[in-house]
């Protein structure tokens, strides 16, 4: 019978107590022989950690890319060294909402010459975006010859064409009309090349997550809002540009997750 006043199982003696006693004392003796580790006082450890962190942050900031006003780099430009500069941690894509007519006009003027300006027959997408280092107006326009072109006005200048060949996606059903890969070049001391993406998506898509993958592209996730069937992702990848390489020869795979208005991911339909 279980009682509240005595143990449910009676006491038992230690089996082979002498052996356990011997083993315990032996273990204790070994512990005593071991040289004691001298620990740094906690406060010293914290101060040292803070110093290391400060130095590290300083170094990381100093190696971050500095965007400058520049145009596309000709493939013949000599490049002394090849150095990959990682995207800064604060390179967050923020959608600042629709761009005004004046901003669209400024972007168009800046990126197209006078006669080319006349070829713009309609604006497909005009958003103000912030990619962590620069704020710009992204304008996707259709030209008279049917070409879809993306323009961006800001501290960096970009200009290019939608090219469905250079990028592939695992979402052919929601990304309609092919994936438009747009290239942009930001010249700084390291000659870093950034690549943006313009996607034409089906009407139910509201948000898109894009991760670029490929040997030259860090697999980072960026989120962008869809606008009337178009999405502009300012930065999907960044790489250095080798001297002999045409910057347009970028090749990458975009892993795209599309979400509807309620935030549900849209299923893959092949």
């Amino acid at each position: 019978m279980i009682s509240l006043d005595r143990p449910p199982v009676p006491d038992r003696p230690l089996p082979d107590r002498d052996a356990l006693r011997y083993a315990t004392l032996l273990a204790a003796r070994r512990v005593a022989r071991r040289p004691r580790r001298r620990r740094l006082p906690l406060i010293l450890t914290l101060v040292a950690a803070a110093l290391v962190a400060t130095v590290l942050v300083g170094v990381l900031r100093s190696v971050g890319p500095t965007p400058q006003v520049a145009g596309p780099v000709p493939s013949s430009t000599p490049v002394p060294t090849v150095k990959v500069t990682p995207l800064p941690d604060d390179a967050v894509v923020t959608d600042r909402g629709p761009a005004s007519a004046a901003q669209v006009e400024a972007a168009t003027k800046r990126c197209l010459s006078g006669s080319d300006e006349q070829k713009v027959i309609r604006t497909l997408l005009a958003r103000r975006v912030f990619d962590g280092t620069v704020e710009s107006t992204a304008v996707v326009v259709q030209l008279a010859d049917g070409t879809i072109t993306c323009l961006s006005e800001g501290k960096h200048v970009m200009q290019g064409e939608v090219d469905p060949i250079r990028a592939t996606t695992d979402r052919p059903a929601v990304v309609v009309g092919g994936v438009g890969l747009y290239w942009t070049v930001v010249t700084d001391s390291d000659l870093t090349d950034r690549t943006a993406a313009v996607l034409s998506v089906s009407p139910e898509v509201r948000t898109v997550d894009v991760v670029a993958s490929g040997p030259e592209w860090p697999g980072r996730r960026f989120r962008a809002q869809a606008y009337d069937g178009w999405v502009y992702v300012p930065v999907v990848g960044q790489r250095s540009v080798p001297k002999s390489k045409d910057v347009r020869s970028a090749s990458l795979h975009l892993v795209i997750t599309a979400y509807d208005a309620s935030g549900r991911p849209l299923p893959v339909q092949r």
Partner: protein, 196 residues
């Protein structure tokens, strides 16, 4: 020499006399062993806890971090150490068990009782089964109340000694004991016939 009190042995242990650890082992290892068994429901784990409890005590003595013994017996303090060692052993056992399950092991772990005689083995296996059933019945009792019951009711410590072992005030032990007893009565009622 054999009439040395715990307090005297404790003081000399603090000065680095390893022999005193052996004599404290002789006096209290059985109590630590049975306490550890009731806490872990495993005789083999209890053996490990006995060893680690006394090694830990020696480590503290070696590092000059042994507290002064206020009472005549070192047992409350040793059971306090044993409680921590039981928790460590249980965490390790759970980790091993999870790893074993992930590895897809189908068989229960084999109890290693060495070369004990068959009837001793059977008795110990019965003890473990009974203790596991008691633990399951006591699952609803908060751990701190359960530990207080283990120390006072099952290991026979006084309220004052249990307070030392747990590092809490005597009043706290009393209130935990009172609440724990009430819950224990309810928890063990369904087991009374099954385990009698």
């Amino acid at each position: 020499m054999t009439s040395d009190t715990d307090r005297e042995l404790w003081r000399r242990l603090g000065e680095g006399e390893l022999d005193c650890l052996g004599r404290l082992f002789d006096r209290h290892s059985a109590a630590v062993y049975n306490f550890a068994f009731r806490h872990t429901a495993s005789w083999s784990t209890a053996e490990e806890v006995v060893q680690s409890t006394f090694v830990t005590t020696w480590q503290r003595a070696d590092a000059k971090r042994l507290p002064t013994l206020d009472h005549d017996s070192a047992l409350p303090w040793l059971l306090g150490v044993a409680l921590n060692e039981c928790r460590n052993a249980q965490r390790l056992r759970h980790r091993v068990e999870r790893r074993r399950q992930r590895a897809g092991a189908l068989e229960e772990p084999v109890h290693d009782h060495g070369d004990q005689l068959a009837d001793q083995v059977a008795g110990r296996v019965d003890d473990e089964r009974r203790m596991v059933a008691v633990h399951q019945a006591m699952a609803a009792i908060p751990p701190h109340e359960r530990t207080t019951l283990e120390l006072v009711v099952w290991s026979g410590l006084s309220v004052a000694d249990a307070a030392i072992a747990l590092g809490v005030a005597e009043g706290t032990v009393k209130s935990r004991l009172s609440r724990g007893r009430a819950r224990l009565a309810t928890a063990l009622a369904p087991l009374a016939e099954e385990l009698s």
